[in-house]
Every structure is written in C-alpha cells, then in structure tokens.
C-alpha cells in the first residue's frame, strides 16, 4: 500500500539545512493501524505529510498503491489525495461559514460530482457519524467532538483507502477524544488503513503497530496487538 524507500526531506532554515526525514524506509500494508510517535521536532509530522502527499521528498522514492508518486505534478497529487487519502487534523480545519453538511460535501463539490449523488453521500456520511441532526449547524455551533466527527465525515465521504490523522484528539477533552478514537478504530476494522500521529502514549499503545521517530529516522518499529 505505502512504500517509502530511502526517504529524505531537507529544509533550509537560514543557512542551516535541517533533515526532517533522514533516510526512512517504511512499508505499510492495507488495513494496518499505525501510530507514529516521537518527540516534537522529530519529523513525525513531516512523515505523515509526506505520506499524505502534502509535502515532497527531497530524495528517495514513494510508491502508493503500486503507483510511483514521487514526481507527480501538483495537480496530479491533488487528484491522488482526493481519491485515496483522507485527512483529520488536530484543529479540525472546517470552513467556518459553511454548515456541517456543506463542509462534508466540500471534497465532492471540488471533484465536480453531480448534486443528487453528493446529497446522498453526505447524508449517509452524516448519518454514520451520528451527525444527522447537526447537518445545518455551522462549526461554531458544534462541540469539539462534533467538529472532529464532521472532519472525519468529510475525510471519509470520498471513500479513501487511507486515513491520516494528525493528533486527532489533541484538541479534545478526554471523553470526546476517546469517542473519536473509537470511531477511527471502527473504520479501521472495516478495512481502512489508519495512520495516526500522536504524542499520547496511551493512544499509541492502542495501535497494532507503533513507530517511534527520532531525529528524522525510525528508531523503533513495534508490532503488537492492542493491549
């Protein structure tokens, strides 16, 4: 599914070059549940962004679903993101002036899908994340947990194969956080490949596979069931 080989990502900050990724080899199979941990500045977010095609490698190769995506043009990357990858962010990233339904609809709108099919998919997505009665609420009228559920619905409405979550519970209280995690895990049980960046050891321990990134390299790759 995901195969990174000899992956480097360098940033220039002033005169210094920072190696955010420093030779990463990583393979993730379909349906895996992977937690990425590490101290701040270790490159765990960069790794997620690279996998999510939001960022490009400085060196190395990236194969997604059997397709070499290392050197695709920006617009082709946008298309791959739209079709195979869903994102969930720590700060939800909902469009504030749009209703929950319109936010969920956004990826389909961008894809130019016909209205009838869009409506159908959106109401199904809202239904499955228990948001049907919140469809017309704007984000500022929703609780944090509801907002993140809208974001998950938006990520899932395109039926992606991979869901990338960057600290999905980082901005939520304990209850809402665990609710969100349960939703994500349930999606994973239905076959979704789930990659989650977190600094919360309790959360990462739930994943079947844990990767620890230190100084841009994978320091530990642990496979174990949820305890």
């Amino acid at each position: 599914m995901i195969r990174l080989t000899g992956a480097y990502r360098d940033y220039t900050m002033g005169t210094q070059t920072v190696h955010a990724l420093n030779g990463v080899d990583l393979e993730v199979a379909q349906g895996e549940y992977l937690a990425i941990t590490g101290p701040s500045g270790s490159g765990k977010s960069t790794l997620l962004h690279i996998i999510g095609l939001l960022d490009r490698l400085s060196q190395g190769g990236y194969e997604l679903d059997g397709q070499d995506v290392t050197h695709l043009t920006d617009d082709k990357l946008a298309r791959v993101r739209r079709e195979t990858i869903g994102f969930v962010f720590q700060f939800f990233h909902l469009v504030p002036r749009l209703s929950a339904a319109a936010n969920v609809e956004l990826p389909l709108t961008l894809a130019g899908m016909v209205v009838a099919e869009r409506r159908e998919r959106v109401s199904a997505a809202l239904e499955s994340f228990s948001l049907a009665d919140r469809a017309d609420h704007r984000p500022d009228q929703l609780s944090g947990g509801q907002r993140q559920r809208v974001a998950i619905a938006r990520a899932m409405v395109t039926k992606p194969a991979i869901l990338l979550a960057d600290e999905p519970t980082g901005n939520l209280d304990r209850n809402a956080g665990s609710e969100v995690v349960h939703i994500l895990e349930e999606l994973n049980r239905d076959g979704l490949t789930l990659l989650m960046v977190t600094h919360d050891p309790e959360l990462s321990a739930r994943a079947r596979r844990q990767i620890r990134v230190i100084d841009g390299a994978i320091a530990k790759d642990h496979r174990g069931g949820p305890r």
């Binding site: 469009v95 002036r97 961008l110």
Partner: protein, 399 residues
Amino acid sequence: MRNQDLIAFAGGAIFGHRLRSALTALGIAVGITAVVLLTSIGEGIHRFVLAEFTQFGTNLIAVVPGKTETMGISAATISNVRPLSLNDAAALGRLPGVIAAVPVVQGNAPVESRGRSRRSMVLGVGPEMPAVWSMGVAAGRFLPPDDPRAPRAYAVLGKTLYTELFGDRSALGQRIRVGGDRYRVVGVMAPKGRFLGFDLDDAVYLPTAKALALFNRESLMEIDLLYREDASVDALLKQVRQRLVDRHGFEDFTIVTQQQMLDILGSVLDVLTFAVGALGGVSLFVGGVGILTIMTIAVRERTAEIGLLRAIGARHSQILALFLLEALLLAVLGGLTGVGLALGITGLLKLLAPALPVYPSPGYALLALLLAMVVGLISGVLPARRAAALQPLEALRAE
C-alpha cells in the same frame, strides 16, 4: 468543480463578511456611478450642442467670402477677394440638387413703429429662408419671391421684436421704419430661440438687397444652400466650387458643410464625454484598489482554508478560479449598485432640473458594468494567484 458550485462558494465567502463586502462593493459602486453619471452629462451636452446646431437642418452648405484654409491673411489678399454677390447666390441656386440659396447679410439697426423704437438685429435674407433654416412663420407670410435685385419693402418680424413693438396687437400690414427706411410688415416668425448668442427672435428679416443698401455694403456675408437629401454632397461641393471659380476666376471663398461642422463638433464632444468619463474612471480605479486590498486580506485570513481545500483535492486552477470569482462578484455587485444609483440620480435630476442636459445611455451603462467586471478581475488576479501558489502544507500550518 461545477460552475454553480464555484459561484455558490465564492458568493458564500462574500456573504460571510457582509459589511466588509458591502463596503468594498460600495467603492466600485461609487466609481461606476461617477462614470455613468459623468458620461450621461457628457452625452447630454453632446446631444444638446448637436441639437443646437442641427436646428437649422443638416443638409446645409455655407459659402463665405475669403479663403480661410490658409493661416495668414494679409491686407493684400483681402483686397483681392471678390465679394460674394446676389448674382452668385442666384447662380448657386440654379445648380441641380440645390433646393434653395439664401444670400445672407447681417447687422443691426433701430426699428421704429408709432414712436416705439428698439435696436434689433437686422437679417437680410432671401424669400426661401424659412425652408433653409427650418424656421416657421407664425402669422402672415414670409418675404415674397420678388426680383432679388429690386425687392419690395416688406419686412418680417421676429417674435420678441413684434411683442416689443406691437404688444398683442396685430402687426400685419403695419408700417415700420428700419434704419430710417420704411417697410410694411407682412409676417411674424414663430419663436426660434437663441443661437450662439444671437437672439433670432429679436430680429427683423428684410430682403437681402434692401439690407445691403441699409448697411451700405456691396457683398454678402454668407450664402446658405439647402440641398436635396438624396444629393451627393461631394459632387455638389465640386459643382459649387466650380461654379464660383468660373464666376470669380479663382477660389476666393470657403465652403463649409453643416456635416463637416457636425463631424468636427461631434469629435470634440466625444473627447469631452470621454474625458469626463475618465474622471469618473479615477474613482473606479480607487474602487478597484479596494477590491485588491480586501482580496489580499481575504487570502491571508483564509490561508488555512486554502490549505484545507488543497489537501482535500483542489487544484491550483480551482483555487485561482474561486478567488478570481470572488473579486469578480464583488465588482459586479458594486457595478449593478452603481448603475442603479446612477440611473436613479439621473432620473431625479431630470425631475428636479429638467433644463440640465443629462442623457444616460444604456450603452454606457452596459460598458460601465463591463468595466467594473474588468476592474474586478484585474484586482483579483494578484491575490488569487497568491492563493493558488500556496503550498498546501504551509497553508494548513497558518493558524
């Protein structure tokens, strides 16, 4: 992305900031109002002036003595000028295509009747003057077609002069004195108004030969020709020139057609309209800068949103289109408001000050609207390009 979705999204962004969008659109509205209003006034003046000049008809040719296409005229050349005579006028009147020729001489003299006296303009004209200058006779008749060299002593009064001399009594058949000579009034002209400072109503119309004698002149000031609508002006001009050159030996006169005058006048007035329109354009430009400013702010404010859109699969071109459309919609909103405002103001002006020459033309209004759209697009280009050039990751981080 489908067009209606693009419009809905851009429109949603505009309505998300109601006050700010309204103020931005207002900038364009003021600009468009200024452009439409000023061009309406320009167009009104244009029409007013042309109407002033065409009130004597359009199929006119004027022949005046002296060759004035060269710049310097010395005393020597003036003495070489052979004046235009009544015979010249008669000869031109016989040309095919010419309906009538009016020999004109103008001056002023005291006009008296029964102890009342008034100094008025005296116009020596031929009997066909009413047809050539599109003037009407209100009472009686105009000067009869006598022998132009020995006409009878008849006079026709302008409206103002008639009122001054006779009040509301009939003037027909009454005797008057013009510059000491006796005339019998045969008619009163319908009011015509002023033209270039001449009050054509405060005038007495005499046969040309009589007026020449009154002013002690040999030569006419002008010969006005009325030609048939279907006549070829160029051919006619050639004939007029040839006929006069034959009679005078060389070209010592100038021919001006009404059409030439109107063309020159029209082009001058077009420049005027354009110039006042450009003045309005300055405020439209300011409105455009307003859109540029607001769109730049909007892109900065919504950087995270742009990043999100890019992350969930929006292409560069879609981001570009969204922000361009937003600028365009703002401009169209302002443009429509401006056109409405301008039409309202011109309507009000017509009601309150009907004398003011204001003429809103739909063409200019449409052009102004197009202009607003162009301004919107141009103002939107820079911010939209900046938005489209954002890398998704950097954009997402901006919060």
